[in-house]
Amino acid sequence: MHVHTQGVSRERPDFARSAERCWIDGDLIRLSHWPVGGIRPGGRAGPIPWLIDLSVLEEAMREVYGRDFRLGDRAALLQLAANALAAGDRRRAAEIADAVAFPPPEYKSRFHDAGLRYLRWGPAHSRGNPRIDVEAWLERKAWERKYDPDQPRVPRGHPDGGQWTNGPGAGGDDENPGEELLTDEEQQEVGRLAERARRILADAGDPDSLVVLAAGGEKPPKLPRSKWGALAFFAEFLGRMMVQRAFEGRNSPVWFDVIDWFNAINTMMPEFESYLTPPKEWEELVADRDYRDFDSYNDFLGVYGSAGAFHDWHHLVEQKSGFSEREINNTENIIRVPRGRHWQITSFMATPHDHLGGLSWRQWLRGKSIEEHRRVGMMAARDVGVLK
């Protein structure tokens, strides 16, 4: 495929620097259907080193989420099926995960040097903030090793009732909580794993290319938004506009363009809002609950008027489908839909399908009964989210 972008191709989308992201994002989505930072680690021409906690695979999580924390779009969170993730490279995943569980000090520092300061492990719903500092995560790991549910407690009635007493797993100080619990064998294992981690990092080469995966739960975690994000976006927007104006040789003040843009956004807001309207019951969409039919669509409009701002009247059985005016222009066939959804329905009816022999629904319905037309019309309205 020939791509007109600045050094970006399907094979090397990660060549894009963050400053170029705004230019190539659309092309990358067109090529891969994933935004920058949301490209999956599998299915590439060359291997990409990635890290995963083995618990992701062991806890039978259905989905995992992650993103490239260095270059990736903040809003792009990669969603993968955990079993699919493990299928191709389970052994390597296991090795890396072991290594991450017991990282040598230089491992952590390389993370920091690479800007990968945040890893997130554990179910998405367990914490409000999805980002956990590497060190905090390590402390948690150590604490989990220390925690023993069978440890005896002081019985009820005693002044210290409910407190832990001395027992297995209770030792260790807060600075290095995990290390004192390790037996000699475990200490050797840690050393072995640390050595393996060094080797894996050496193989990984450039730490910038590491893709860090995080474990997810039932729903994707919400990424925290920077309070400077909107300002940065505006500054970037302004910069792009000035560059564009320089190319076009325009001399009017840049604020004219800014005002134009804000006016345009203000004008479009009701349309966005109409598009975001949730699906409604049938009774909420019809013009009139009582049946009424008309000799023409204009007669219908004469009685019920416009559908409202950024809303349209939609015919379930389409207007040019060959039925009589009264069969089409009646209150059981015309519903009020947001304009964006109306466009989606139109696209739905005009899109060809393999299973219909390359015909669209509109073409396939020619010559069919009005019940068939109505069934497809209802399906379209439900599918695009107009009708509950």
Partner: protein, 128 residues
């Protein structure tokens, strides 16, 4: 200038198919119906060429492709050679709430289950 499909090797044909499938996905998500229809015809010609070479099996691995649109079109065009696998893929895709790939998969399932699906196998030329 584009080469004639008949002169392409199977690998080149598959690459062209994947490109067209990705672009169709982009068109569909952006409601570019006219462009989608034009590419659909091109994709039909490519699939017909696969059938003519008796190599429609080559599209089947696409049902495990990472891109949902390639998974969808592979499932849509290989339904006759692997109905169970392709229907499972369509069911999985039908659960995608965003974009139009879920909508297309739901529609495909509706068509299959309501018994109105049309065979994609082109008519065989009479022998002799």
């Amino acid at each position: 200038m584009k080469k004639d499909l008949k002169t392409l090797s199977l690998e080149e044909l598959l690459e062209r198919y994947n490109e067209v499938a990705l672009l169709m996905g982009y068109d569909s998500d952006n409601l570019l119906t006219r462009s989608y229809t034009r590419r659909f015809k091109e994709k039909q010609r490519i699939v017909d060429e696969f059938w003519a070479r008796s190599a429609i099996d080559a599209l089947l691995p696409g049902i495990r492709h990472e891109n949902p649109w390639i998974r969808y079109f592979s499932a849509a065009n290989c339904g006759e050679i692997a109905p169970a696998e392709t229907e499972a893929v369509l069911e999985e895709l039908a659960r995608i709430p965003y974009g139009t790939v879920g909508s297309q998969a739901r529609t495909a399932l509706y068509i299959i289950r309501s018994g109105i699906a049309v065979s994609r196998r082109p008519p065989q030329a009479p022998k002799g």
